[in-house]
């Protein structure tokens, strides 16, 4: 059931069945509010027929010139609703919005250890554009893949030519 609708403040009162999962971070209120205020169209939720939150996606549009792109900040699906193609629908939605915003590409960061997610993004057409060293702090710090998929505006697919060298987090533009 992939009907998406815009995420609203009240959804934060019922997203516990998704957010109590260890891989989904619960952020401070202002983080969500900032996204809702700035990029409301990029924050979508999938609701089940019984009214549960099945998953949601949070994103934004940013960058200048040919770096104008959509970014996936968070994508999460409740354990009960996995392997139903939900993540793909959520990603499609974000890509559609980015298309309408005339973005050149969509990007996201993922832990290099998160094989399941990387595989899924690969299947959705994302490539590893570059590795960002020690992007995730922790013990030990973990590298991130910066994955990208070109939008139709990037006719020559310039945005998805992989970099040959890894970058430091401070060098990400």
């Amino acid at each position: 059931m992939t009907t998406l609708r815009p995420f609203t403040c009240d959804d934060m009162y019922k997203f516990n069945n998704v957010n109590l999962d260890p891989l989904t971070e619960t952020y401070g209120l202002s983080f969500y509010m900032q996204y809702l205020a700035h990029w409301p169209e990029y924050f979508q939720v999938a609701e089940s027929p019984s009214g549960d939150i099945m998953g949601y996606i949070m994103g934004k549009a940013e960058g200048h010139g040919d770096n104008w792109h959509g970014h996936v900040t968070a994508l999460t699906v409740s354990p009960d609703y996995r392997r139903l193609g939900l993540a793909a629908s959520l990603m499609n939605f974000l890509e559609d919005v980015s298309e309408r915003k005339r973005a050149y590409f969509v990007d996201l960061f993922v832990r290099v250890s998160n094989k399941v997610a990387i595989n899924m993004y690969n299947n959705l057409g994302y490539i590893v554009y570059r590795t960002v060293l020690e992007y995730y702090s922790g013990d030990p710090d973990e590298d991130a893949y910066d994955m990208r998929k070109a939008c139709s505006r990037d006719v020559k697919q310039k945005s998805v030519i992989p970099l040959t060298h890894p970058v430091r987090p401070e060098d990400i533009d």
Binding site: M1, D10, N16, S48
Partner: protein, 958 residues
């Protein structure tokens, strides 16, 4: 040039000199910040920004009046320097005087009328105080100065808000005037060809929508403006088509969307709604004929259930999407069946078209039974079958899976289907009337299945995965809870804890296991163990509000005052910070032009500010601070004494809202068919009881505040105010009468309200009498004083002898864990009462001291002495009772598990124990009894410490 250079240099010097003040402020060291301010001000006494910073530093170190003096002096200067105004704004925001900020900027704009920045701040200051009318004025003034579109839109939005949230709410005429004004303002933009950005188009739609001009909205969506929107246009169109009842258009549009993506549930619902709307209206007119020859399928309007069925079947045949089998069309058939049933009650048309609904369930199960969501999908439609047929279906599903008592799942999918069938069986009521023996057997089988599933299919899983086999344990825990309810003993609960803990060790991230453990520990009154589990859930931010009911609210009544105090502080801090910040989000919405979010944000702000959990935690926090008040100095530094209003006056009782998320607890109880737990009658009843309890506690808190701050009130009103508060409290308690506890039927249900147990504690007897003592001492009525002191002493003695008796009898009780829980709760109330009594003794003492100091007549002094003696006498009595109670508690700090627990295993649980032995759990069971006993001992130790400090405290005042 030279002037400008000098200026730059000046401001650099200024920044450098002021920097340390900001740094200290940021670091939270306000004393240093004040010192630094003074240093700067010594050199340049007229530096207003340093003065403003001093005001802020003073405010944050609690010196409100000195801060206000400086602010007033600065206000008089009519400043227009934004840096200074920003600091003053922070002060006024923290003082909650938002109107002052607007005044500041109004004055500043008189000095510097063309300053865009100042105009913007003025506008935002009105946003923060929700003064929509002034917002509109400020925005228009700004637009006249700087003709940018966003400013113009701010004005339009302000007019819209006046109409839908401001004065327009009560005055329909004003509302329509304001709305047409807003529309004309946008029309003007369009005429001037200036309507460009997506946000501006959205605002236009909002204005039209507020006037119910849905036709016009559709025109906008179909025009060039529509292309500027980044949302889902067809879905937007549907919203407005529905408002206009344009069912044929809706029907065709839905078909088009669905044929592209079959899984969009809301679209399915809209489609079926349109089918039935059309069907009903056609039945009345009966002249609707469509020439189907040349129309492509998708453009045909489906206006009968038969056509809808055909459409659904076609999509079912088309199969999958994205490589996944989609649930949409399958579920649509259930919805079609449901709607047909509703339309033609009692007739067989649904069956004629769709066949036996039971077959739909079985087919769905065959297709999706290996997905966990199958259960919640089907749950919504179980009402299509009556009770008996549900049972029949449950039986069929179990047989379908092919797992009997003699075999085990051969694949992970089969296991998932087995789990799904079991969960559905429970939902269908198959387990409702089982005997204890059968439940026991079922639990044994479930734990066996868990063990097998874990060994076979759990090995490859990541530590962050939820293992599918965990579902057996979750079911098992619910069955054990049924058994507990049936037998009234704690054994099944302990076993459930064993099972859950064992499973949690294998799946350390499964939060469902943790949520059940949290609840079970609280059911057993073990707050300390609950805390460990709670910590592992990593509850934070808004979850304090949505999940606080499951733990935070339980802590003080389980005797864990220390833990409670910490969590109350964190919780209250969350609410205060976020409520203050919430107006920032409104200003961001204007900044980014997300006008559609403004109403939502304002509602959310209210939901947060009026949270029941917030009010409850605030009140509880004060009572815990009374328990922790160890010295006389601490009493006079109590937070409650800083409150300028009574607590009951600060809570918006009519608007209090329960924000608890109960549905996060999964279960498969038949009751779940009736909708989310939040909406159950029992849930609402207990929420209602909680509200009553909060009100009682709040009125008592008012009494305490009034008594403790008796010398703050003007002399002639002191005792009257206290009397009035005490009367209000007593009446509230009496109004509630005796509250009978109901039963906690299901593990997934919120725990029972504490109203019943609280009412059984002798608050009224002891504290009621104690307030009479305060009054008698104040009016210096010796005779009355003697009388009420005698009553108080009796009440205190009765209270302690009751609890002592209960505690002594604990070891003889048939079920020590259940008794212990009840006793511990009562003990917590007793300790809270004793803490309040101690504070009130101090108040009496202060009154006596005060009147002695002020007494001029010698005769008066004599009376005082006898009052003094009787108070001393009362204090001695309370101390004695505290000592008695402490002595009784002494053996309860023994960390050895009572013998009775080891005896327990030999009763009805022999075979389950065998099962647990097979799972290497026999030792674990012992350890659960151990950790419960240890935690209990630690809690009792903490309570003894409280009692000892109370005793010391009382020694200080006599």
């Amino acid at each position: 040039m030279s002037y400008k250079g000098a200026h730059v240099q000046d401001s650099c010097v200024l920044e450098r000199r002021l920097r340390p003040i900001y740094d200290w402020l940021d670091a939270g060291n306000y004393k240093k910040a004040i010192q630094e301010c003074d240093k700067v001000l010594k050199k340049s006494p007229n530096l207003d920004r340093a003065l403003a910073l001093k005001a802020l530093s003073l405010l944050r170190s609690g010196k409100e009046s000195s801060c206000i003096t400086i602010l007033d002096s600065l206000t008089e200067k009519q400043l227009a320097d934004d840096a200074i105004l920003q600091v003053m704004t922070m002060c006024y925001r923290e003082l909650q005087q938002l109107e002052k900020v607007s005044q500041l900027y109004e004055v500043a704009l008189k000095v510097d009328p063309t300053n865009e920045e100042l105009h913007t701040h003025l506008f935002m200051s009105y946003v923060r105080s929700s003064d929509f009318k002034q917002q509109q004025k400020a925005a228009m003034a700004l637009y006249k100065l700087v003709p940018k579109n966003p400013y113009y839109c701010w004005a339009v939005m302000s007019a819209l808000l006046q109409a839908i949230r401001g004065e327009g709410v009560d005055h329909p005429k004003k509302k329509s005037l304001l709305l047409s004004l807003a529309e004309r303002m946008i029309d003007k933009l369009i005429q001037e060809n200036k309507l460009e950005a997506e946000q501006e188009v959205q605002l236009y739609i909002m204005v039209l929508e507020a006037q119910e001009k849905y036709d016009k909205v559709l025109e906008v969506l179909d025009s060039n403006f529509g292309t500027k929107l980044s949302g889902d246009l067809p879905q937007l169109r549907l919203v407005y088509l529905k408002h206009l009842n344009r069912w044929p258009d809706i029907n065709v549009l839905c078909k088009k969307i669905l044929s592209e993506s079959v899984d969009r549930w809301q679209i399915w619902l809209s489609y079926l709604k349109s089918v039935f709307e059309l069907y009903i209206s056609n039945n009345h007119s009966n002249n609707h004929q469509q020439d189907l020859a040349d129309v492509p399928d998708l453009d045909v309007v489906d206006d009968t259930p038969e056509k809808a069925h055909e459409f659904i079947c076609k999509l079912v045949e088309n199969g999958s999407d994205n490589g996944f089998l989609m649930r949409g069309p399958y579920l649509a058939r259930f919805e079609l069946c449901k709607q047909m049933r509703e339309l033609n009650k009692g007739d067989e048309s649904a069956e004629c078209l769709l066949g036996d609904p039971m077959e739909l369930f079985i087919e769905y199960f065959r297709k999706f039974g290996h997905k966990p969501c199958c259960v919640s999908d089907l749950r919504e439609y179980l009402e299509l079958l009556d009770g008996e047929r549900r049972l029949e279906m449950a039986g069929k599903l179990i047989r379908e899976v092919g797992i009997t008592s003699t075999n085990i799942p051969q694949t992970e999918q089969q296991m998932q289907r087995h789990i799904c069938a079991l969960q559905l069986s429970r939902l269908c009521g198959s387990h409702a009337n089982l005997s204890a023996e059968l439940i026991k057997a079922l639990v044994t089988a479930l734990s066996y299945h868990y063990l097998h599933g874990h060994q076979e299919y759990g090995a490859k899983l990541l530590s962050t995965d939820q293992a599918p086999a965990d579902a057996y344990t979750l079911l098992g825990a619910h069955f054990l809870y049924d058994l507990h309810r049936m037998t009234g003993t704690s054994q099944p609960l302990l076993l459930a804890i064993v099972l859950l803990k064992y499973t949690l060790k294998n799946s350390p991230c499964n939060f469902h296991l943790k949520l059940l453990l949290l609840r079970l520990y609280h059911i057993l009154g073990s707050g300390l163990n609950a805390q460990t589990i709670y910590d592992s859930l990593d509850i934070k931010h808004l979850q304090f509000d949505s999940m606080g009911y499951a733990h935070c609210s339980m802590l003080s009544s389980s005797g864990n005052f220390g833990l409670a105090s910490t969590l109350f502080d964190t919780t209250v801090k969350f609410f205060i910070t976020n409520y203050k910040d919430s107006s920032d989000h409104l200003t961001f919405s204007y900044k980014y032009g997300s006008f559609s979010k403004l109403s939502e944000f304002m509602n959310f702000q209210e939901r947060l500010g009026c949270s029941f959990h917030y009010a409850n935690t605030l009140v509880e926090k004060h009572f815990v601070s009374f328990v922790h008040c160890n010295t006389i100095e601490q009493v006079w530094a109590l937070d409650i004494l800083n409150n300028s209003k009574y607590m009951s006056e600060t809570i918006n009782w009519d608007k209090l809202i329960i924000n608890h998320n109960y549905n996060v607890y999964v279960s498969w109880d038949p009751e779940r068919i009736n909708g989310p737990i939040e909406e159950w009658k029992e849930t609402k009843d207990h929420n209602e009881r909680d509200s009553k309890l909060l009100y009682i506690k709040c009125t008592l808190l008012d009494c305490m505040q009034s008594a403790l701050s008796i010398f703050k009130a003007p002399e002639h009103r002191r005792i009257d105010q206290l009397k009035a508060k005490v009367v209000a409290w007593k009446e509230t308690i009496k109004g509630n009468g005796v509250v009978e506890d109901s039963e906690h039927k299901l593990l997934c249900m919120r725990l029972l309200s504490k109203l019943g147990s609280y009412m059984r504690a002798p608050y009224l007897q002891v504290l009621g009498a104690m307030f009479d003592v305060v009054e008698a001492v104040y009016i210096d009525d010796m005779e009355q004083c003697t009388q009420v002191i005698a009553i108080t002493k009796e009440a205190v003695k009765a209270m302690t002898s009751d609890i002592c008796e209960a505690l002594t009898g604990e070891s003889k009780s048939p079920d020590v864990y259940i008794t212990r829980k009840v006793n511990l709760e009562h003990l917590s109330y007793v300790i809270e009462i004793l803490s309040n009594v101690s504070l009130l003794c101090l108040v009496c003492w202060e009154i006596i001291k005060n009147s002695q100091c002020g007494a001029s007549k010698k005769a008066k002094k004599k009376v005082d002495n006898s009052t003094r003696e009787s108070i001393t006498n009362l204090v001695m009595c309370v101390k004695e009772e505290i000592t008695k109670l402490d002595e009784v508690l002494k053996p309860h700090t023994n960390e050895l598990t009572p013998l009775i627990v080891s005896k327990m295993g030999s009763t009805i649980f022999d075979d389950l124990n065998e099962q647990l032995t097979a799972m290497n759990l026999s030792e674990e069971e012992g350890s659960v009894a151990d950790i419960l006993t240890k935690a209990y001992a630690v809690t009792i130790k903490e309570l003894r410490t409280v009692l000892k400090t109370k005793s010391k405290f009382l020694s200080c005042i006599s």
